[in-house]
C-alpha cells in the first residue's frame, strides 16, 4: 500500500549530501519534484526508485565535486591512454594499466560481442583479431594495444550482409547457446588466412614441405580450432561450417524453421498424444 510521505520529518543528511545541497540548490528543487511525484504516484515503487536515481544522476552530473566526495570522478591510478583502431574506427581509451583488451572492448566501448568465458586463456570465447592475427583479448592488456588494429565479431559483417563465416555458422547450426560463437567465428575467420598463407599445425603430415593455400582436412580444422571450447558440443557443425567456407563447396542446409502449418499440425499431434 502507499506510504505516506511525511514532509515534516527532518532527514538526517550525510556530510556528502549536506555538501551537495549547499553546492547545488537545484538539488533541493529536484527533491521537491520528487516529493510531489511520490505524493501522486506513491505506490509505484519502481518508478520512484528510478526517478530517485535519475535525480541523483542529474545532480551529480551538474556539479563540480570536491576530490573528497564519494562520487567524485576518480583519478585512475596507473592510467594509460592508448589509441587503436577498433573495427576500422580510431578510438582513444584511458584505462587502468590492469584493464585487459577484453574488458576495454566490453566495458568501455560497449562491444559486448567478445565474451568473457574463463578470463584465463583457456576457452577462446574472447578471441579477437589483432593486426590480422587471432589472439585472446582476456590475456592482452589494453595498454599494449597502442597503434594496433582490432577486429571483433561486430566488425565482420558488411552492414546487414553477414560475413561468409557468420552465415555458414547459421546455416550449419554451428552453435547451441551461442556464448562461444563470437570467439569461434573470429578464430575461424583468421584460420582461413592462415591456411592461405600455408601455415602448418601439429597434425600437418610434413612440416618441411611448404605450400600456399593449404587444403585443410577436418582433422586439421579440429586441431587448429582447439583453442575454442564449446560447452554445448557443437563441434561437428562448427567443423562443417568452417569446411564449407574453406572448401567453397556449398553444403545443403540440414535444418529449417517450422512453417505455421507444421506448428499447427504438431500441436494437434500433441493433443492426440495427450488424450491417449
Amino acid at each position: 500500500m502507499a506510504e505516506e510521505f511525511d514532509e515534516s520529518v527532518e532527514i538526517e543528511l550525510t556530510a556528502d549530501e549536506a555538501a551537495l545541497l549547499e553546492n547545488l540548490p537545484e538539488l533541493s528543487e529536484l527533491g521537491e519534484a520528487r516529493r510531489k511525484f511520490l505524493g501522486q504516484a506513491a505506490a509505484l515503487g519502481l518508478g520512484a526508485f528510478a526517478l530517485n536515481l535519475l535525480a541523483q544522476e542529474q545532480a551529480f552530473a551538474a556539479i563540480e565535486t570536491s576530490p573528497e566526495a564519494v562520487f567524485a570522478p576518480v583519478q585512475i591510478e596507473n592510467s594509460v591512454t592508448v589509441a587503436m583502431k577498433i573495427n576500422g574506427a580510431e578510438k582513444s581509451l584511458t584505462v587502468d594499466s590492469r584493464m585487459t583488451l577484453l574488458d576495454g572492448l566490453r566495458e568501455k566501448l560497449e562491444l559486448t560481442g567478445s565474451k568473457k568465458g574463463c578470463d584465463h586463456g583457456q576457452c577462446g570465447a574472447c578471441t579477437v583479431i589483432v593486426d590480422g592475427r587471432r589472439v585472446l583479448s582476456c590475456l592482452t592488456l589494453a595498454a599494449t594495444c597502442e597503434g594496433k588494429s582490432v577486429t571483433t565479431i561486430e566488425g565482420l559483417a558488411n552492414g546487414d550482409a553477414l560475413h561468409p563465416m557468420q552465415a555458414a555458422f547459421i546455416k550449419n547450426d554451428g552453435f547451441q547457446c551461442g556464448y562461444c560463437t563470437p570467439g569461434q567465428i573470429c578464430s575461424a575467420v583468421a584460420l582461413m588466412n592462415e591456411a592461405k598463407n600455408g601455415e602448418i599445425s601439429y597434425v600437418t603430415a610434413n612440416v618441411r614441405t611448404s605450400a600456399k593455400n593449404v587444403k585443410l582436412s577436418d582433422d586439421e580444422i579440429r586441431e587448429r580450432m582447439s583453442g575454442n571450447i564449446c560447452r554445448c558440443g557443437a563441434y561437428p557443425n562448427i567443423v562443417a561450417a568452417i569446411q564449407e567456407v574453406h572448401s567453397g563447396k556449398e553444403a545443403a542446409q540440414t535444418w529449417s524453421f517450422h512453417t505455421p502449418n507444421e506448428n499447427v499440425a504438431e500441436i494437434e499431434e500433441d493433443k492426440k498424444d495427450a488424450t491417449v
Binding site: 594499466s97 586463456g121 590475456l139 595498454a143 578464430s187 602448418i200 618441411r208
Partner: protein
C-alpha cells in the same frame, strides 16, 4: 589484480635498467602466462615493462645455424621456412603447445620463462615452496598425477610446462641474454632451467633484470629424422603427461648421434643422456630403442599418482624414435 605501473620500452638497455632497479618489476612480452598469474595473485609485480616492441624479432642464419629473436612470436618461429626446413623438431614442438591464439601472442623468450602449471602453485590458499618459500609442497603428499618423476626434491615436485624448450634442449640451443650494464652472456640450454633442490622459487639461472635477446641453434644433421611426440589427456590444447623430442643422425644403418629430451617429467627440460649414449653406434631397431628407453627410465622416481609416467615414458621414447626414423616431421 594488484596495481602496477605500465611502461613500454623502446630500447633494450633502458628496459633492462628499469627492471634491474626494481626487484618487483617484470618484463612483459606476450603476456599469456604472467597476466594469468597476476589475475590469480601468484605474480605481483609493481611494474611491467612491455618489451614486445623491441627490435628482437628477427629469425636469421647465424654461425652456420639459426638465431631466433627472443621477441619473435611462436607462430612466426614455427612457420619460418628455415625452422621448418632445418629444425622441424622445433616447429613440431611449438605447434604441440597451447592454441593458435596463444602461439600468436607468445614470444620465444617468454615461452622459456613459463612457470609451472602445478595446481598447488596456482592456488594461493595452498602451500607451495615455489610461490611462497617455506610453506611446504602441497603436491608431494597431495594430488601429484601431473608431477615429476625425475630430479624432484622434497621441496618441490612440479614439472616445467613448455614444449618448445624440450626441442631446444635436444637441439643444443644456447640462450643469449643481456644484463644491466649492457653486458651479454650465453647460457647453454641445458643449464638455463634449474632442478628445484632447496630453491624451487628459482626456475632459471637468469638474474633479475637480465633480458633474453635470442636463442641460437647450432647447425646439425637431424632435420630428416626427428619427431616431437606429445601424450596428453586431450587430443589437443592440453599440457603434456609425457612428451619426447627425438632426433637421429645416421651413418649407414648405424646411429651416429641421438638427441632425446622429455617434457612433463621434471622441473626442467629433461635431456635423456643415458638413452642417447646407449644408441650411439647401434642399429635403429625397436629392440635397441627399448633398451635405451629402459636405461633412461631406470632412474625415474615416481610419486603416488604418476607411476604410469614410467611406462608411458619408456613407450614414448621408443615411439618417438620410431617416428623420427620413419621420416617423422619430414
Amino acid at each position: 589484480m594488484r596495481p602496477f605501473k605500465f611502461s613500454s620500452a623502446s630500447d633494450a638497455r633502458n628496459a633492462v635498467q628499469t627492471i634491474s632497479a626494481n626487484k618487483d618489476a617484470k618484463f612483459l612480452a606476450g603476456g599469456t602466462n604472467i597476466l594469468d598469474l597476476m589475475k590469480e595473485d601468484v605474480e605481483r609485480p609493481t611494474a611491467l615493462v612491455d618489451v614486445s616492441r623491441l627490435n628482437l624479432t628477427q629469425i636469421k642464419s647465424a654461425n652456420g645455424g639459426l638465431s631466433l629473436g627472443a621477441l619473435a612470436k611462436n607462430t612466426d618461429t614455427a612457420n619460418h621456412p628455415l625452422v621448418r626446413q632445418n629444425y622441424p623438431l622445433l616447429s613440431m614442438a611449438i605447434l604441440a603447445g597451447a592454441s593458435q591464439q596463444i602461439r600468436n601472442m607468445a614470444t620465444n623468450g617468454g615461452n622459456l620463462l613459463q612457470r609451472t602449471r602445478c595446481s598447488y602453485f596456482y592456488d594461493v590458499a595452498m602451500p607451495c615452496n615455489k610461490r611462497a618459500p617455506g610453506t611446504g609442497c602441497g603436491a608431494l603428499e597431495g594430488i601429484n598425477r601431473m608431477h615429476a618423476i625425475f630430479g624432484w626434491s622434497e621441496k618441490c615436485v612440479a614439472v616445467y610446462p613448455s614444449d618448445m624448450s624440450i626441442a631446444l634442449v635436444a637441439l643444443d640451443a644456447v640462450v643469449k641474454v643481456q644484463g644491466a650494464n649492457g653486458q651479454e652472456r650465453s647460457i647453454p640450454f641445458a643449464d638455463f632451467h634449474r632442478l628445484p633442490g632447496d630453491t624451487p622459487e628459482r626456475d632459471t639461472n637468469l638474474n633479475h633484470g637480465e633480458l633474453i635477446t635470442a636463442i641460437e641453434l647450432p647447425k646439425n644433421n637431424f632435420a630428416g629424422k626427428s619427431y616431437y611426440l606429445k601424450v596428453r589427456d586431450r587430443a589437443s590444447y592440453a599440457f603434456a603427461l609425457v612428451s619426447v623430442a627425438a632426433a637421429l643422425e645416421m651413418d649407414g644403418n648405424k646411429i651416429k648421434q641421438a638427441r632425446i629430451a622429455m617434457g612433463g617429467v621434471a622441473h626442467k627440460p629433461w635431456r635423456a643422456t643415458e638413452a642417447e649414449k646407449m644408441l650411439v653406434g647401434k642399429e635403429a631397431s625397436a629392440a635397441n630403442f627399448k633398451s635405451a628407453a629402459d636405461a633412461e627410465m631406470k632412474g625415474a622416481k615416481p610419486l603416488e599418482h604418476n607411476k604410469f609416467k614410467v611406462e608411458l615414458g619408456t613407450r614414448g621414447i621408443v615411439r618417438a624414435l620410431q617416428m623420427a626414423m620413419s621420416g617423422g616431421a619430414a
